[in-house]
Symmetry: C4
Subunit: 231 residues, 4 copies
Amino acid sequence: MNYKSIREEAFEANMKLPKLGLVLFTFGNVSAADINKGVFAIKPSGVPYEDLLPEKMVIVDFDGVTVEGSLRPSSDTKTHAVLYKHWESVAGIVHTHSTYGTAWAQSLRAIPIYGTTHADHLTVDIPCAPPMDDSMIKGNYEYETGFQIINHLKDKNLSYKEVEMILVGNHAPFSWGKTAAKAVYNSAILESVAQMALFTEQIEGKVNRMKDSLIQKHYDRKHGADAYYGQ
Amino acid sequence: MNYKSIREEAFEANMKLPKLGLVLFTFGNVSAADINKGVFAIKPSGVPYEDLLPEKMVIVDFDGVTVEGSLRPSSDTKTHAVLYKHWESVAGIVHTHSTYGTAWAQSLRAIPIYGTTHADHLTVDIPCAPPMDDSMIKGNYEYETGFQIINHLKDKNLSYKEVEMILVGNHAPFSWGKTAAKAVYNSAILESVAQMALFTEQIEGKVNRMKDSLIQKHYDRKHGADAYYGQ
Amino acid sequence: MNYKSIREEAFEANMKLPKLGLVLFTFGNVSAADINKGVFAIKPSGVPYEDLLPEKMVIVDFDGVTVEGSLRPSSDTKTHAVLYKHWESVAGIVHTHSTYGTAWAQSLRAIPIYGTTHADHLTVDIPCAPPMDDSMIKGNYEYETGFQIINHLKDKNLSYKEVEMILVGNHAPFSWGKTAAKAVYNSAILESVAQMALFTEQIEGKVNRMKDSLIQKHYDRKHGADAYYGQ
Amino acid sequence: MNYKSIREEAFEANMKLPKLGLVLFTFGNVSAADINKGVFAIKPSGVPYEDLLPEKMVIVDFDGVTVEGSLRPSSDTKTHAVLYKHWESVAGIVHTHSTYGTAWAQSLRAIPIYGTTHADHLTVDIPCAPPMDDSMIKGNYEYETGFQIINHLKDKNLSYKEVEMILVGNHAPFSWGKTAAKAVYNSAILESVAQMALFTEQIEGKVNRMKDSLIQKHYDRKHGADAYYGQ
């Protein structure tokens, strides 16, 4: 069996979703890509987390064609493929139906930037792509979901390298990163920020976004040229 | 001891309720039916989950008469019996007082279809049957609860084969399926969808239901003629 | 060491509070009474649950005087003593600061009876005693808390035998029963009902109490002359 | 390796944060000070809790200069240093992004004193320092965060010896105490009180603070000259 490294990486990352409380049953999937080979390992569709194994991961190329594996890949595989094909530095993608993130997606609202927990990771509201046109839904749906994400970031003038998470309206969150582990981390951040933002608005209905200087400071502590967070 | 298969099935399914966080103490029950024999195995009334065993399940026929077992069956047994008697393809039924589902039932509102987590399982709002007339309450209450469920689905032009869950007003959720395990799965789905729907309305007070094309697409991915979810 | 039976009973019941998620740190206490001997065993004050042992329970009489034990009893001991002294059939009392019950107590509202989860246990709103007069607060505070509970039930024409739980305004819940285990059970019921009632009002702002016939039916299923719940 | 005692104390206290549900990933830090030596042990920056060890703690003096340790200390180290330098009796400090506390901080509201759970620990609202001026944010940010906390307490006429917790606006909670363990305890109290206060306002929109006599009584039970809580 080939692609051992991304199989292991995808397996480990998938197994983190239930531990982080981000999925019920099989409602989530993580993929890990080998950018040089142009393939990614993804969770098989509908298989319970307790039955997963690295060798059950399905290897798919960036056009969504299965390269290795006897199981059917996640029903969201084409969304992953489109994103890998268009985003050269991304090597991990996560989709969950996490409770608070999904509630924001269902409300069709971007998550406003209210505090440093949010600003530690991105400097703008977590975007919410609108639901697709009917023609896209009835067409190649999962493939178009990828384009909906790409195009919404473009419409908002956002870079996938700086904004590593999005809500898809009436659906649920997607996140990504340079590794599958980082993409899972981002999905947990999104859920936590989504929860805090709801409670913030419940505590104070007329709350404002935090100010730009504080957003920039916190983002730069972790991600700026002179970042000093971590080892 | 007879009916070993449905005893085991009912036992396993009942034990999943506390693991899924759907019950406090003994506030829930699952039954598993043998359609050919016209009987089902159900949890004994008021017995803590930690004391359950397959041999403690009570075997009851579709008229609600105990066939085998020394313990008293769940107080909701007649509701199960009525549903089995009238719904020929159902072989598992669950009743819980899960927190969010019960809150919607207490509010007397159907759960609006706000996102794909919901549409992956049914294409309409999760119905909420109104509380029964006083004469039904004072009569054969649990028996009438079954008819209240059956009749509310009829009133709403819904098929029990497509809508496998309901709220009973001022009471709590019921779910069902072709197996007891599927019925338990449905009770967890209902609870998750109920939670997300509440948060969705809290985030955006004027939220609309999702559009029909997206509902249909997600339902068909899992349940349509060309379904491609799972193995 | 004497009073082994109530020491064990109080120990077991106290240890259930953290397992049921009803307490943070040491913010709760259970006592178990021997009605014939006129004494009860209660948790020592401020001792972490992980350090508790049956022999650390303090034996106190119904006037609040320590009979056996070297540790200081719970600071709420006199409240327990007053209730045992005046309520002849009660042999277990619980006090917690459980999250949702305490929030209702802080809001000074009784918990409205919205569904069968509530009606399975009592037929009226869970009462909320108002905060005490300043003279009572500055006097024998814990002793007066007991009287505040007793008097509020009287004012509302409620019997402690039928209503086994109460909120004390700006403070937190108390519950009781014929055993310490039953009192703990009641404190978990109160918390669950309190949570559901909040969510019910959030789902539907203009929600009404459930109707009397349904309240009575559910209460009688468990507690009436012809009760048929349990074994 | 030196400073064994505060290394152990800081390690133990840091490990309690995930157990108490107060942190996601590495979003929190605890320090333990040796007041006589003028140093404190603090969590290294960005190190997962499961990889922590007492010998990985970084020893820093009250000017924020590392005294011993090869890892980079928490990015919030200078905030801790400023507080230790100005508050002579404090030997433990905690910073978390706990969910409810952070939501209040994001709403820029102090947490109103609604009940005895709050009054058992402090007699006033949990203060919320406003976000800093832009010049402070762009300057020595973490250092200024310490002064923002000190100055807000002064503005409100509060003593750090009586009020051992604060929210920093648009950021998150800080707490402290005579030991690191006490500071962690305070961070859990803040989170619990923050949660109850939100639910209290949701239950009753026009809720008032509790009355002074009851606040004072509960605070004095635990902290007054004649305190009778604990052993």
